[in-house]
Symmetry: C2
Subunit: 210 residues, 2 copies
């Protein structure tokens, strides 16, 4: 946590060199913010974070080697005062919820303007939360909606891979009937018409990737 008068020390983690350049360039004129390190993937982010202990990490979710969500989870359990601003291309209430539950304080889309990002960094450094307006609306839209359990997500991933219920059962060591029950639950929760529709919805809401 930065004392007033001292700049906020920021770590930038994004696998796009262009995006890192854009961020550094954008934050440069801001005297209250100092970029102390950059990381191009999740593993490097872990290393650089432990090395520099920034006040806030500005982090993308889609990163090679180690997923951004995992990075957030790991570092938040290591350091109670770790602060994260997620800056990513994808919305999806489930992804946002997961990030916030893992310890992120802010979630912005890459369509965000300079003001949003600056404000998020200041707010989060003060221990507050800041959601982009579009993200907040997305979350609000699905508020009250049930999230999927870990088991349901596992089943969904296998469905997306084109596996039949019998095969899914074998891979998860349960009966085909159990798989059917799980799927029925998934369809109800996502309000999907069939398994294919469920996968589409799950992807767009961020339960599963790709």
């Amino acid at each position: 946590m930065s004392l007033s008068g001292q700049p906020i020390r920021v770590l930038i983690a994004d696998d796009h060199p262009l995006m890192r350049d854009g961020l550094r360039f954008m934050l440069q004129p801001e005297s209250g913010i100092e970029v102390v390190a950059e990381a191009a993937d999740g593993a490097e982010c872990l290393t650089k974070f432990r090395e520099h202990r920034p006040d806030v990490a500005l982090i993308d979710l889609q990163m090679p080697k180690v997923d951004g969500l995992r990075v957030i989870g790991t570092l938040c359990s290591e350091y109670a005062d770790a602060r994260f601003v997620v800056l990513t291309s994808f919305a999806g209430d489930a992804r946002v919820s997961r990030a916030l539950n893992l310890g992120a304080s802010s979630y912005l889309l890459k369509t965000a303007r300079r003001d949003d990002i600056i404000r998020a960094l200041y707010d989060v450094a003060r221990g507050r939360r800041y959601l982009g307006s579009d993200v907040a609306q997305d979350v609000a839209t699905h508020r009250g909606t049930e999230l999927l359990s870990a088991r349901e997500v596992s089943v969904l991933r296998l469905i997306a891979a084109g596996k039949k219920n019998r095969v899914i059962g074998e891979e998860l060591n349960v009966s085909e009937q159990t798989v059917k029950t799980r799927i029925k639950n998934i369809l109800a929760k996502l309000q999907a018409d069939d398994r294919t529709h469920a996968v589409s919805i799950a992807v767009s809401r961020g339960f599963i990737d790709q």
Copy 2:
């Protein structure tokens, strides 16, 4: 086409302000390149292109209002000497093929480094083509693979929306049998196990979005 000695006039089109900043910042020290305009969506890209007639447009595919692919198609048919470098987050051989067929000269991923982008701009301004190594490999992997027809993509989109074959038939004004035949063809072309798998593959290869 820029004469030697005169800088290449470039239009940047990307809906991420950060990315535009990064690009401008990256291209600034390059004396052979001059950024003459920026656009934050497809419609603006059309306007700015017609207004400034850049030598090369550096364009993202995912843009609001008008899709990047449509922008490329439109401008290439308006101006025979229009040149495009696609710079986007998503790979997928089908997306690349579509972009190149519509008239793009280069396809890079946003993970590209400065050298790649600079080189692409110079090459394309000279009328040559330049594919990122990762993109080229992706295309090569699926070389010889049959692409999907327009009708097949339509069917696939409706499948992804959770529509049943009968409903798909009604929406496309064909019989349910025809839909089945189409789907059988799609499964064969994509080497998919079932309709759900087909949608997954189609998304990852860029035949359909989201």
